[in-house]
Symmetry: C3
Subunit: 159 residues, 3 copies
């Protein structure tokens, strides 16, 4: 492992830290910018993944669809009383395909309601493919694999 | 990013790991040593921060005030039956001011009672300014921004 | 800190990420391979550690005993409806003894049941000794120190 590989590793750490920050700070309008134009974004369950089922619960096949999703969310929620906090750890570079990297990481999202009640909102792993663009690393594919198969309506939220 | 920048990044990781360890190991007497003499330490809510309210729930403007707080805590709690565990992730260097660095990170604190009951105790983010001293990186400012606005009395504890 | 030390640090990060992945992906048969042949694996409580009690709740003194444990687990559980997710953070290199390193880290394990119910399953810290072998870093000793002293029967699971 040379310095270039070390720097790349830290860049990828930063990608996930920035991604979590974007969501937790409710800057959803910036969320699609973490993806390539022709990205695939999917929320699915570990059960589906293990069964080899290709279609997830939520499926977007372009950055534009993510933009639409955020706009829909903003229209639906005049006031958002809860907060989300992402903890991401265990980041692994699984392999590479050309200039793309396959990366996985564990995540936990904790939700805090306005009255202070805290709940475990979601846990699972990301199975991602990232590519380097001029503006930095982007998600060409992001599979959000939930440990639960009961998918809450709130999972319309970006994870 | 050169080797010096990489090393600095790992040093900052270490600062937060050491900080979490100090609190979780109940070595509260060592906690003020993570701060500069003229530090500012504040516990506040995300709601306050967004409203631009300057005063937090807890406010200390020197390391000595932190020392006093620990002494008060030790006097108040003859026996402490619960344990806390900090998970810190998503560390980001947001910018620099002279030799100071602005750093943010997400945190989750889990509390375990003696009977084994576990609860989500606090979640939020740190908004910090750190400076390098001879003894290593210190917090010149630490804002503990809680996702909840209901502040438990136990938040007298260092976070 | 030179490049070799930086690389070593990232290798150790990777060891813990791989370890968490192995357990969360239910690849228990690969779990013993994270240990040396003459390893010591112990699950204990923080209370025991502070009292200086040497024997933990679960104690294995060789990799073979870990293999046996996994086989016993597989026989006992025909079907495993729950999922576990490890969040590991705050990794610290505490010191070294010859070519061995003493490493600690915080962990949180979240359990998700098939119906979607999520619970805090375990929190605590690892107190480990790792050594480098040809196949990479291995645990020569792993103490899983739980914050709780009420040990659930499910703690037969590798942590």
């Amino acid at each position: 492992m040379d310095l270039a590989a070390v720097v790349r590793r830290l860049e990828i750490d930063k990608l996930y830290a920035d991604y979590a920050h974007c969501l937790d700070a409710d800057r959803l309008e910036e969320w699609p910018d973490f993806f390539t134009e022709d990205c695939a974004y999917r929320v699915t369950s570990a059960e589906n993944v293990e069964a080899g089922l290709p279609l997830g619960i939520i499926y977007a096949t372009s950055k534009n669809m993510l933009v639409d999703r955020v706009m829909a969310l903003r229209r639906a929620n005049i006031y958002e009383p809860q907060r989300y906090r992402h903890l991401i750890s265990g980041l692994r570079i699984e392999g590479s395909q050309g200039d793309a990297l396959d990366v996985t990481a564990n995540f936990l999202v904790v939700r805090t309601m306005q009255d202070g009640a805290m709940t475990l909102f979601a846990a699972g792993c990301y199975i991602d493919r990232i590519v380097r663009r001029e503006a930095g690393w982007k998600f060409a594919r992001k599979d959000v694999v939930l440990d639960s198969r009961r998918i809450d309506t709130l999972l319309a939220l970006p994870l």
